[in-house]
Point group: C2
């Protein structure tokens, strides 16, 4: 079972690694890290590089596509090689999925037109420009398209994918394998639960980061 | 604030990337990926490489040490360069921490002698050989030593570290930034909650993986 995860300059590491950690534990999994040109890609913090081993041409028809998000997505909304690859993969995929603002790339490729979809809470309205109907849920499933909320939601989405593909025992076994029994010190993981002042600050930081990335050309 | 995360052949990606994703969002953070020799390190699945940029000598006194786990730890329990570096870093660190079986390396370095500690549930008894007292908790804090349970527990541990270092607002803001509002499809993340048959299977797979890694020399 081939799983393609595209990488690009400015992706968010956990968006990609959450689903990787779940899906790589399927005995049948063959994870492909894909980019226009293979090589190490920097995350949005510039403090971590993960290697893309394959080019788009090397991986034309994976069964599962997982598009991670990150501020770097904002520089790729008109990147035809990536969008064309997403469109082409989507024609034959079993599941086309995204984490966080990876859904903006699915949207730019035309995959979300007319569908409900989600993304990071601070970017939710941006989905409208692609004809998608933004919804505030952890994971949104529409036919074979699955979109997840921000960053850590990719772990929940991948467990759902395993459940769909191989049944509840497989999903439960992998959840136990990664000991995913969450116990955060606060209940502050969504804008409905976090203190209003903190939501305001995080939104402002997020908008500033977005402007910084848009102003700075891709390396 | 320098954060050192050692990498080695056969680490578990999410063990390292969970804490990275949390700690890298602190404005003061400087994350160092460290190995005996810099270069890309393979995870235990052999399907992902993450770049170590620094050698042990380059990072002698980070404020925070985060040791990730993985089956590769079993080949490092007598690796003097690594254990010596851990011991030396621990002398001056603000926090010495581990995720999953990373605590076996802290133990082998002598850091856990006489302390309560945790690790992946399937390896818990192994902590005893290092004079540690194994406890079944998500995160265990003993003075400046913090150990986390399996794989995904590093996210919870890192949020606690942020709370200790910078207070509840910082921890809540980062939790909101990574939208950590977990919603797994099942409640199967610990051996106390998962069906007994699944615990048995996952334990058997884990023990087999451990034997395979021990039998196969490090690359």
């Amino acid at each position: 079972m081939q799983v393609a995860i595209p990488l690009y300059e400015g992706f968010t590491a956990l968006d990609a690694i959450g689903p990787y950690e779940v899906l790589s534990r399927l005995p049948e999994a063959d994870i492909k890290w894909v980019a226009e040109q293979a090589g190490p890609k920097q995350t949005e913090t510039n403090m971590l590089r993960i290697a893309a081993d394959s080019s788009y041409a090397d991986v034309p028809s994976p069964e599962i596509l997982v598009v991670p998000g990150g501020f770097g997505t904002r520089r790729l909304l008109e990147d035809e090689p990536l969008l064309e690859w997403i469109r082409s993969v989507h024609e034959t995929s079993t599941w086309t999925t995204s984490v966080c603002t990876g859904s903006l790339l699915l949207g730019a490729a035309g995959v979300l037109n007319g569908l409900e979809a989600t993304t990071h809470w601070a970017s939710l309205e941006q989905l409208e420009q692609f004809g998608a109907k933004p919804v505030k849920r952890r994971v949104v499933e529409q036919g074979k398209v699955m979109t997840a909320a921000g960053v850590s939601a990719g772990i929940d989405m991948a467990l759902r994918l395993v459940d769909k593909l191989f049944g509840p025992e497989a999903a439960q076994a992998i959840q136990l394998g990664i000991e995913y029994d969450p116990e955060p010190p606060y209940d502050s993981g969504s804008p409905d639960k976090a203190p209003a002042e903190i939501v305001k600050v995080v939104r402002a930081v997020s908008e500033q980061m977005e402007r910084d990335f848009e102003a700075e050309p891709a390396p």
